[in-house]
Point group: none
Chain length 205, copies 4
């Protein structure tokens, strides 16, 4: 039996969640610098002061929102990579495919993440947070690559660091397309292409 209170709580998300959703919307639409706290407050249907009750500054709200949103992605990716039944090719396609899917459904967040690294270097605190965030995803990617290596799918003389860079580049380029171009993407097909490109290259045999 669920009481009335809980029903209500489901129907109208808790204030903090409403704020996080509004922040995602507005920051995603306008970028960090052009978004105003007033807009976010309005979008969340709360007073400006309420924002500051939950987050001590615009900066903290921004980073809180990113952490919240990308936490979901990270947990899902970790779940996929922990699946022992998948061998490298399947794993690669599941991972990259999920990246694309996530970016497709959370464009704002994806855009923010793609820009964050080079873009917030005027702000030490935020910049460091994003460096750490990128590192976490890089480690995840690097785990994927090591799996390919151990299972014998990748070259024995592989330079891991460069391979990671290449993978990250492919990922962000295809994610970028999902964001920029509307209309339906064949996400699975894109993942297949990325695998083919990464493993076999685009050269003639």
């Amino acid at each position: 039996m669920v009481n009335a209170d809980e029903c209500l709580r489901e129907a109208v998300p808790e204030t903090k969640d409403r704020i996080l959703e509004a922040a995602l919307l507005v920051f995603g639409e306008k970028g960090y610098h052009n978004a105003t706290m007033a807009e976010i407050a309005e979008a969340a249907a709360v007073g400006k002061g309420t924002l500051y009750w939950y987050f001590s500054s615009k900066e903290k709200l921004f980073s809180g929102m990113v952490e919240h949103g990308l936490g979901l992605l990270e947990r899902k990716l970790r779940a996929i990579i922990s699946d022992p039944t998948l061998s490298f090719p399947g794993l690669f396609k599941r991972i990259t495919g999920y990246y694309l899917e996530f970016a497709y459904t959370h464009r704002h967040l994806a855009r923010i993440f793609l820009n964050s690294l080079h873009n917030l270097h005027d702000n030490d605190e935020l910049h460091n947070q994003f460096l750490q965030l990128h590192n976490r995803f890089n480690k995840l990617n690097s785990e994927l690559i090591r799996r390919g290596y151990r299972e014998g799918y990748l070259r024995p003389d592989l330079e891991t660091e460069r391979a990671e860079t290449a993978l990250a580049g492919l990922l962000s380029a295809f994610i970028g397309r999902c964001i920029l171009i509307d209309g339906d993407h064949q996400l699975a097909a894109e993942a297949d292409f990325m695998y083919d490109c990464f493993v076999n290259g685009l050269g003639r045999r």
Copy 2:
């Protein structure tokens, strides 16, 4: 024969050039939103009003600066691609190598370019300018890919658009490393790696 005017022009760069250089420095250091016209004026050693004599707004100064800086890169790349003596592998490595070299010596500009696309979407005018700029470079890249295709280095069934995306991704990822990581990079070696990855893939044969 060099006339007096030109001598002077060499010694003390014309006002407009000083402004463009100062803009590059300041925008590159602080990003579009955190840079102020006052800082740029000071860095250029001119009055704030002078900025507005040459550029009607901050926005126009920014885009003028990007156009100015990347114009150099574009011309150089076109010169390389027009060289008939180079076959695809050499051409690919010259092109990508020059991208890296340019990014390495013009970090600020490179950073601005990498971010610009996703980052300025709050500003229609600037955003469109950058879309066009990216298109110009994409066309250049696509020309490179078609060369590889025509010369038989790339797969007969190549999906050109996706190949372009992949190339752009590789490029920006390796450019990003040049920017973020100090210390000397083996730019030529990176270009070789990119070629290998793009054409042969990283898979075991």
Copy 3:
């Protein structure tokens, strides 16, 4: 005989008293404008709303606190002045000495009192309250002066109002020193000096 209620009251001061103490601490430390209700609530270990149950506004809390604190001083001074066994010199030194002692042990309150008159004139309600407060102490001082006059210690042609002003000036200057300068003060010696200065002057005979 002490009943249970009083025991409890001793152990855990009643909410209102805790608030008054906290207000004294925080207002004294930060001044009226820089103190926040939130800080006071925290210092009193009550919720912010509780403050408003006892005092209808920040202003009322402030004036309540002053009244509470200076009430003690006033009652004590009245007790001294009512003592029929003291003649003018002893009375003067007891009174001024107690002023100094009180200021020394209640620095916050003393500081607030010293400033209040000139400082809160932007706030009619508070300002009037402090005018009245000062008047009450001035009357006390004037009583002291009249005693000196009646007992023949002071000039027959004394201009009472000016004498009051002079006494008030001496008092606040020496009180100010107690507040500003740490370390032990010879409070009794200061009181003696004040008497000497007030009655005999500092000129050579």
Copy 4:
């Protein structure tokens, strides 16, 4: 010959002076915390931004204004004290009389100065500035007292520091009356009384 420009400059005070006057008016009327930059700007008939062109913060404007205003007083007092033709009694009355006169015509400034010491202790920078200011005036007063001592008007066993405190107390109390009470004051008579009180005391001979 005075040209039109200079005439104009006389008629409409330079912007910075207008700001300083407006600041004196508004800070004096409302106190530091209750005065707003917007009000001061309006009183000076300039835009809010202009305030910040001349003073980097509210704090700096406040301290600039005090320095400006009290600088006048200090210079005048120094001129008086340097007059070799005056002996102690005349000097004392001239000095104290000028204090009163200045306070009477610059009530706002006088009020600010009286409160500053105890009142701004929440703000380190301002507080230190005022400590120094008070020290400068204390040195001036102490010079006056040493003159009286050297000329044999004051007791041979004088405790200088206490005498300074007493003088400062008398001064601020009488200055305070000038500020609080409207109507004409017999400033010269007050100065005479202060001398009498300080040197001879109010006791019967």
